[in-house]
């Protein structure tokens, strides 16, 4: 018989228990948060909603008041700060979602349906990076989640946090990759923004090529200043064409405010290339980019 350590999962629960807190705000179901750094909790935007304060419940039962610093609804992330007691509190060890392989063991830790300190185990369902090595918006994991897991950690077999559990889709767990969290924390909730609202359109029904029709443009915004006009159809961003919706959101999500971005637009039947310098936005609606 092999000597597989059947208690290996217990180690994970112990590690994670010290770095996971329960969060609640008034009028919401509550969820979890991850102690990402001393005094810094990362959770889902949908756990805290628009609240400015959140109640932080530590592993030992102590409750503290936390302040919601930043949030990014599109990424479903929020940062909560609290005055950390000097001792007895762990912090998460952070891993890279990009390193995950299909089949790697991952575990979720949280309070599903209010059962605090619950661990569920599964595997990475799909590679979380694309062919260019860029991290997808979500890690997809074959791990059972339930309401109450939101904002809690998804960790790899070494107990390193690779994502923030956020949603359940078709039975799969969707978690925000740790790389996106790092960017969110670095940019303090800001994101690159160009000030347009656009609709996906089909350019060529035969090839299934997509374009982004600029429906509205914010005057004086980054796109307007770079010469984009309403009615332009964006066909590629940084040389990437739209083989699927979300290319622009993705590009913006990956870059910082104040950087230039090559944008190819179709205007009156001919192509032209523009360079758009991204602005910064902390607040945005779903359709605007």
């Amino acid at each position: 018989m092999s000597s597989f350590d059947f208690y290996a999962g217990a180690e994970l629960a112990k590690t994670m228990g010290q770095a996971t807190v329960e969060l609640s705000v008034s009028n919401r179901g509550g969820g979890c948060g991850i102690i990402w750094d001393r005094g810094v909790i990362v959770t889902n935007a949908h756990v805290v909603g628009s609240a400015r304060r959140a109640r932080v419940k530590l592993r030992d039962g102590a409750t503290l008041q936390g302040e919601v610093m930043f949030r990014d609804e599109q990424r479903d992330l929020a940062e909560v700060r609290f005055d950390a007691p000097s001792a007895g509190l762990g912090k998460a060890s952070i891993g890279n979602a990009a390193d995950l392989r299909v089949g790697d063991i991952v575990a979720a830790f949280g309070a599903p349906l209010g059962i605090a300190g619950a661990l569920t185990l599964g595997i990475v369902h799909r590679k979380p990076i694309d062919a260019d090595g860029r991290v997808h918006r979500w890690i997809e994991a074959d791990v059972r989640l339930a309401p109450g897991n939101s904002g809690g950690p998804l960790m790899d077999a070494r107990g390193r946090v690779v994502g923030v559990n956020s949603m359940i889709a078709y039975g799969l767990a969707l978690a925000v990759p740790s790389e996106s969290v790092a960017r969110f924390l670095r940019l303090r909730g800001e994101r690159a923004w160009i000030g347009i609202s656009a609709e996906i359109v089909r350019l060529d029904s035969a090839e299934g090529k997509l374009g982004l029709l600029v429906a509205e443009i914010i005057s004086g915004g980054p796109a307007a200043r770079s010469g984009v006009i309403a009615g332009d159809i964006i066909v590629s961003v940084e040389g990437r064409s739209f083989d699927r919706p979300g290319v622009l959101e993705r590009e913006l999500g990956d870059r910082e405010p104040g950087t230039s971005m090559r944008v190819e637009v179709l205007r009156g039947g001919s192509l032209r290339e523009l360079v758009v310098t991204t602005g910064s936005s902390t607040k945005r609606t779903d359709r605007a980019a």
Binding site: V102, G103, R126, E140, D142, A157
Partner: protein, 304 residues
Amino acid sequence: MSALVSLSDDIATAVAQASGAVVAVDARRRSTSSGVHWREGIVVTADHTVKRDAEIELTLPDGRCVPAELVGRDPGVDLTVLRFEGAGLRTADFAPPDDLAVGQIAIAIARSDDDGVAATMGVISALGGPWRTWQGGRVERLIRPDLTLYSGFSGGPLVDGRGRIIGINTSGLSRQTALTLPAATVDRTVHSLLTRGGTARGYLGVGMQQVRIPEDVRQKLKIENEEAVIILSVEPDGPASSAGLMLGDVLIALDGSAITDVHDVLAYLSDNAAGRKAKASLIRAGRVVEVEIAIGERPAEEAD
């Protein structure tokens, strides 16, 4: 924690290993299903995911998109065999069938045309002997995995912890659960479809239900079976209709072997090809009647 780390490595390696022989099959609208490169140039997939007979495309592990030709279908075991130019592509490695055990870790693998490889893990939940599907196909062994067969996973392989293929997964044979067709069943089906070019399963064109034969009728007519099947519908112009079968006829034997339930009929039909003549023994109006039915071919659209 090291045990989980090495398990993690093992599973990821198994997925990487096995997925080299897993292709995406584009043969229905909206989403692809999966297939296994079973042997050089031959892909096996789940029949219920193949909604068309032509313009089938495969996405290979190296990303290439190639056309595939339909060799044949066997809806009885929910398998379709495809042929393509597969030079250079890895074929499946198989797990020794005797090593299967309830409780062992098993992984289902899928490939889609745009998102690449996906995997889900569980254990083998139940093993059993030979069984018949509701569609009448013979399966060498029952393998029931305990895992979620997500959309697009049908036709893909169930593999062991070393990435060796145990069989083909399908959600098409049971409403309740995922099932895995053992390699032996797939081998036999591939062989039969390649040599005969199509499923030869016969067809009668009747709807049936099992009934109990009353004791006094059994004694009077000297019938051994306690049960038989009653004909509930007869397809117009079908083989049974042409042979004069009527609603209410009770089928008690085919070629002299007793029919006690619908599965017996399906089993008979899967072993007896279209074109043969079957001697049906019926109870009709209180008497035993013999009728000869020219076995027909199953209509193609039945596959759905």
